[in-house]
Symmetry: C2
Subunit: 174 residues, 2 copies
């Protein structure tokens, strides 16, 4: 499957409502547990996605379009949400994510990007040269893999309750 801006919007526009549907109304046992030290709970993931909307995708798109490879992207803080989300309810975070995402997609559409723009390059602090096409594809993949992560983390909370069936779930990277 080749990159397409329209098909990317299909995912990027869905993600806030997907996460809301997955998480709303659940007990804290499903939402607040993680996979062990330095891993994310579903609650942490929403904060992580908020931090991405604030500091990553939009800023790096701007950097590529305005500065090319001259200036390196600001490194992304993967653990910022542990501080930023403190004291906020899940609903507050879901609302914040939805609002930021809608603003960023409206902004992205207003750029009227062309095929030529997708080939433009920037400099990632550790990966080196990357294109706008790669950045936008990664944004989509980042959404989808974090939805996958959220549901995998939730599933793992019941791991000790499934008995011998665990055998069938090993092949699913469980």
């Amino acid at each position: 499957m080749k990159f397409s801006l329209d098909k990317s919007y299909e995912i990027l526009e869905h993600t806030p409502s997907v996460l809301r549907t997955v998480l709303m109304g659940l007990s804290d046992d499903w939402i607040m547990n993680n996979e062990g030290p330095d891993t994310f709970s579903p609650y942490d993931v929403i904060g992580h996605l908020i931090h991405g909307e604030k500091t990553d995708w939009r800023d790096r798109t701007t950097m590529i379009l305005e500065h090319g490879t001259e200036k390196s992207f600001v490194p992304f803080d993967r653990f910022a949400q542990f501080e930023d989300s403190r004291g906020k309810s899940l609903t507050t975070l879901l609302d914040e994510f939805e609002k930021l995402r809608a603003t960023n997609l409206a902004w992205l559409k207003s750029l009227n990007l062309t095929e030529d723009d997708f080939d433009k390059k920037g400099t990632h602090p550790s990966l080196g040269q990357v294109t706008l096409r790669q950045l936008l594809s990664t944004w989509v993949i980042h959404d989808l893999t974090h939805i996958a992560q959220v549901t995998r983390v939730m599933a793992k909370q019941y791991k000790d309750e499934m008995g011998p069936w665990i055998e069938f779930f090993r092949i699913m990277n469980f």
Copy 2:
């Protein structure tokens, strides 16, 4: 996290609307592609879940409650949906899944299961003795891991478009 029927319902009741929110309105590129031979596309997963509602969870619960370990469960056909879903639209499948799940959960609630019931045992054709608690936990985990699978399969369609960023996604079982 210990098994609880109420916390299990939280997930089981959500799953049809979660999958609808994830998949509705998407291009076929996102829905019909899989991860290679003998793997499921998101479309295939919905058929697989329908087959589970028809032949697995409810029937096996009944088997445990009525026959205990005397009779072995009927083996589950993991590939039935390739025939059963043929010619059906994704919307038709999502509707069918939602309806079957609602019926099965209403039935499950009508049983008024007790803690003693959860310890009752049945015989799995390849895993041997299993309890009702383990069966119901596995139903929940099965839902969640298939949602994870759907979004992972979707993400993989863009794998060749992300360039050097793939490096950061290896740790996520991508």
